[in-house]
């Protein structure tokens, strides 16, 4: 294992300290309990949005804290949910009197810790609503598993819900928009290599030189099937098929296409995938009207990518276009 780290125990604290220093114009950081919060929080009358989860997915979630997106992010240890205490503290820090929305990726640990935190915050008189994202179509049997996982679509939920909060929507309205985005987005991922959790020191799984794993989540956990490496275009088609048939998307739809890198795949490859994904969607009569390409929800140094397709309507398009000023997404301001 070669990594640019010091003591593995200090990976998250040191990284967040650097993040805070680099983006002091946008965020401030509480180091104990650990959370990242908008520099201007709490914003009176605006719904605060808190997300979080294990570290190792950067820029998710800390990179999305700021105007027009998250009020706070709570980073746990690498790939491990934060405990309820910092979630409660972050919830209080963003409460401007309009209530707080928790956006939680559907992973058992995240859901349990946010659930406990929401109970504790409610006991302190803060109105909390929770939206659990579960956009991963790789999980076929959601009845006999912990359910579909929250993956790439989470970024889109956070952006659009954040814009709704910023324009002054109520807690119920912001939660409804978040639910609507989650209901209209589907994601599928592929891994070319595993990733190495710093304190584990060994790859989370092994893949042969000529093998890829289809349907991975964001923790290096194995996915739906293991197949021989194929050209990029064939992989794009393999990822898009279950996405398009699941919602289902249909001819005439306007969509946001999000091609996300898992951390170890260069942009040059992501754009090859984006190019063909647009072609496949066009051949089905689906128009890509907005897009996002880059490393936004990662799995440490894993080589791989995910494709998310979000069916847009006029309101969600407008909210996507609304100004945002965070470390990882900035436009219009």
């Amino acid at each position: 294992m070669k990594k640019l780290i010091n003591d593995p125990k200090n990976v998250v604290q040191e990284s967040v300290a650097g993040f805070a220093s680099a983006h002091a114009d946008i965020v401030t950081v509480s180091s104990d309990p650990l959370f990242i919060v908008r520099a201007d929080a709490p914003v009176q009358g605006v719904v605060g949005i808190v997300s979080g989860g294990g570290s190792g997915h950067e820029p998710l979630h800390g990179g999305f804290v700021g105007y027009g997106m998250l009020g706070a992010a709570v980073p746990g240890p690498v790939f491990t949910s934060p405990t309820p205490d910092p979630i409660v503290a972050a919830t209080k820090a963003v409460d401007g009197g309009a209530g707080v929305l928790h956006i939680v990726k559907n992973y058992t640990g995240d859901v349990l810790n946010f659930e406990t935190a929401a109970d504790l915050a409610a006991a302190d008189g803060i109105e909390v609503r929770t939206v659990v994202t579960d956009d991963d179509v790789a999980v076929q049997d959601s009845l006999y598993t912990a359910g579909r996982r929250g993956v790439g679509g989470t970024v889109l939920v956070e952006k659009i819900a954040g814009a709704a909060a910023e324009r002054g929507d109520s807690l119920d309205e912001v939660a409804a928009i978040a639910e609507r985005v989650n209901a209209n987005v589907r994601t599928m991922g592929v891994a070319l290599t595993p990733c190495v959790v710093p304190h584990a020191g060994e790859p989370s799984f092994t893949l042969g030189d000529d093998e890829i794993e289809i349907g991975i989540g964001i923790h290096g956990e194995p996915g739906r099937e293991r197949i021989p490496l194929e050209p990029a275009d064939a992989i794009v088609e393999r990822l898009l098929e279950p996405i398009l048939s699941d919602l289902p998307f249909s001819s005439g739809d306007s969509v946001l296409l999000f091609v996300n890198g898992m951390g170890g795949t260069p942009l040059v490859e992501l754009y090859i995938m984006y190019r063909h994904a647009v072609e496949v969607l066009a051949s089905r009569g689906i128009t890509v009207v907005r897009n996002l390409v880059g490393n936004y929800i990662t799995a440490l140094e894993m080589q791989g990518a995910s494709i998310s397709v979000l069916k847009l309507d006029d309101e969600t398009t407008e909210l996507w276009d609304a100004p945002v000023q965070t470390a990882a997404l900035r436009w219009g301001r």
Partner: protein, 210 residues
């Protein structure tokens, strides 16, 4: 012979030692079918618990001990294990509140409440390849031992043995809860790390009982 606060504290200290001794084993089990953090997280949690045991005031009851364990684990472990183990100790504390010495029946109440707490939070059933596969046989065996008039140590021994068998019996199962559930058939042949750590903790309870 009943078991009091000294036993409760000794159980928790022994649990912390056992978790530390088996840290790498638990990480390895979890890496095979999960995300490889179980040993790390439990070790961090129980170390924090041990550091707090000295703050317990004179005259504390077993319930006070378990409540301290619960709040500390919930605030230090993270992942799914934090709320699950934390809730187990919290409900255990509630079940024996006000009792200074625990007899066989009280131990069954304690174990039953702990198991019910885990089910309440995690919604797993027997056969889902989770810690419940260790806890439920443990509760059932303990209850049978208590009904048969056995003493406290024998009740705990029955629980520990059943938990060990239950943990081992998770190996052929397909997981229906937690992160291993995404693996389908590929989880077969691997022992559930939460069931394993649960059996270690229940074994620790016997080791320090008189």
């Amino acid at each position: 012979m009943t078991l009091g606060t000294d036993w409760a504290i000794a159980w928790i200290r022994r649990s912390a030692d056992v978790v530390a001794e088996h840290r790498v084993e638990l990480i390895t089990l979890d890496r095979e079918i999960g995300d490889g953090d179980h040993g790390e997280n439990l070790d961090r949690g129980f170390s924090a618990v041990v550091a707090k045991l000295d703050t317990l005031p004179e005259g504390s009851t077993p319930a006070d001990v378990f409540k301290l364990v619960a709040t500390t684990l919930i605030s230090t472990v993270g992942g799914a294990s934090g709320p699950l183990f934390g809730t187990a100790y919290l409900k255990a504390a509630g079940a024996v509140a006000g009792r200074e010495d625990l007899d066989s029946a009280s131990l069954v109440d304690l174990l039953t409440a702990a198991r019910d707490g885990v089910v309440l939070r995690g919604k797993a059933a027997v056969g889902d390849k989770t810690m419940i596969d260790a806890w439920t046989p443990a509760v059932d065996s303990a209850a049978r031992a208590a009904e048969g008039g056995q003493d406290e140590k024998s009740v705990l021994e029955a629980a520990a043995q059943a938990a060990e068998t239950g943990a081992r019996d998770t190996e052929p199962l397909v997981a229906h809860k937690g992160r291993a559930s995404y693996l389908g058939e590929r989880a077969v042949g691997h022992r559930d790390p939460g069931a394993q750590s649960s059996s270690l903790i229940l074994r620790a309870a016997v080791e320090v009982a008189g």
